[in-house]
Symmetry: C2
Subunit: 257 residues, 2 copies
DNA sequence: CGCCGTTTGTGCACAATTGCACAGACAGCC
DNA sequence: GGCTGTCTGTGCAATTGTGCACAAACGGCG
């Protein structure tokens, strides 16, 4: 059992935004787990029995695999949200696989418990509905982004998104993995990263990417990152933003998600 | 006021799948409207005060516009679903624009009415949650599809989707419009359509596309169309499928959506 | 019938991206 | 300190898609 105000619990913005009373309803049922990179939270077609709340710098992703084996990330979730049955909320089969991309601590909750608690608390219901709306917005934007924007811009966008969630300049990811997530060819992605490096936006290291000029990277990225972030701020900002309980990160570096 | 069993009302699969009792809760608040092609149901950023149920062969789309003016369709909704606040369900700002693509009758309902009715009926809540899950699945698949599949396959997929909703071989759409929806160049789309025509899958006419070999078109299309359709059948099939009230279409030609 | 605006067809240069092959570099481990 | 497996860099041909210009075809309307 986790204390209501445990840092772990507050390390997820959704959970952190709850009133102490609502948080107390969930806390007894939350299970802390450490997830490794690559760990599959649920597989496409499976019933989703747990909802996971990444905390700290843990990041998970919804991934769709095609018959030919190629995969793409279709949604990313960090400590700003939750993964699994966010929309369906029942015992429906998952449409996509969920994979841990950046290892770290996660809080798990049985889907059914969440359902019960939602029934009991309008504020909690409201919060999750708002998050679902944001998740959908993120995915809608990704559809458009993949249709219209060249890889370099999408790559820059993706780096920004990961940095927001990690809150660090150093992103532990290989070209290979990033290429898979973007759904592009590894060798071309290497060239793209090198191009970004030549523009002094990032530095490419073995197994990691270092952001050295965030502002310029934002300028290089497509507008999609900003559009989604703005929606999060509009819809969840008052709840998870500045007025939310402080997170264990240096204040000047806190971001919306 | 619309009678509970009016053909118009049953012409939307979601409304048609409701128990007569639940349908009676909504019916008094439904407003029938005729929509023209191009009509904007709501604009991005606006609060969504109405939810619209396309009936018959009316088709609407969620569209995202980029700063440079280019647009893409990010979700399509026909008589299998509903558009507007399906997920957010509250008075949150819409993330994307909603546009009528194929003119026809639509039933409108104030978002707030739907909220009230949901509060009163678990079955209705369940149905809408299921639909929201399917909508999300459709969008997730579109993210992957746009990332991985060449235009010809996506084009074939799109044609199948429209045909499902229209239930006709003849699709009233111009190259120009279709290119906008897919987010590709008109001149290239013309070539793509011609290629599909040369394979005897479709016939290209001025202002319309005629499907002449559905099966072969399905083979040419990417797997995405099938994957989404399967999810609809799994999640909504028992409700909106064969066991649902008959729709005014010839039985052999009925499709899942 | 003939005109006119819209829609479609096509040519061409070139940019973006794939696909594949292979060399080199790094980091951890024994 | 050297081996080994993973990760990164790069060369090159082929394909896919863009961007633009302009001609041709169609169909409704007066």
């Amino acid at each position: 059992m986790i204390p209501d105000d445990a840092p772990l619990l507050i390390g997820n913005l959704l959970l952190g935004a709850l009133q102490p009373r609502d948080r107390a309803l969930l806390a007894p049922h939350l299970e802390a787990r450490e997830c490794r990179r690559g760990e599959v939270l649920f597989e496409a077609g499976e019933d989703v029995s747990f909802i996971s709340f990444p905390t700290g710098s843990t990041v998970a992703a919804l991934v769709i695999a095609m018959r030919d084996g190629r995969t793409v990330e279709v949604a990313t979730v960090g400590h700003e949200g939750a993964i699994g049955g966010v929309v369906s909320q029942g015992s429906l089969p998952a449409f996509s696989r969920a994979v841990v991309q950046i290892a770290g601590p996660v809080l798990r909750l049985e889907t059914q418990r969440l359902q019960e608690t939602k029934a009991a608390s309008p504020a909690l219901r409201n919060l999750f509905t708002r998050y679902a709306d944001c998740l959908l917005a993120q995915v809608l934007q990704a559809v458009a982004c993949n249709a219209l924007h060249p890889i370099e811009e999408r790559c820059a966008r993706w780096i920004l998104g990961l940095q927001d969630r990690l809150d660090s300049e150093v992103l532990p990811i290989t070209h290979e993995l990033l290429a898979d997530l973007l759904g592009v060819q590894r060798s071309y992605l290497t060239r793209t990263l090198k191009s970004l490096q030549q523009q002094d936006l990032i530095q490419v290291r073995r197994g990691r990417i270092v952001v050295c000029n965030r502002a310029a990277l934002e300028a290089k990225a497509c507008e999609c990152h900003g559009a989604v972030k703005r929606h999060f701020e509009t819809v969840l900002g008052a709840l998870c933003g500045p007025s939310a309980p402080p997170v264990a990160l240096s204040p000047t570096r806190r971001r919306a998600f």
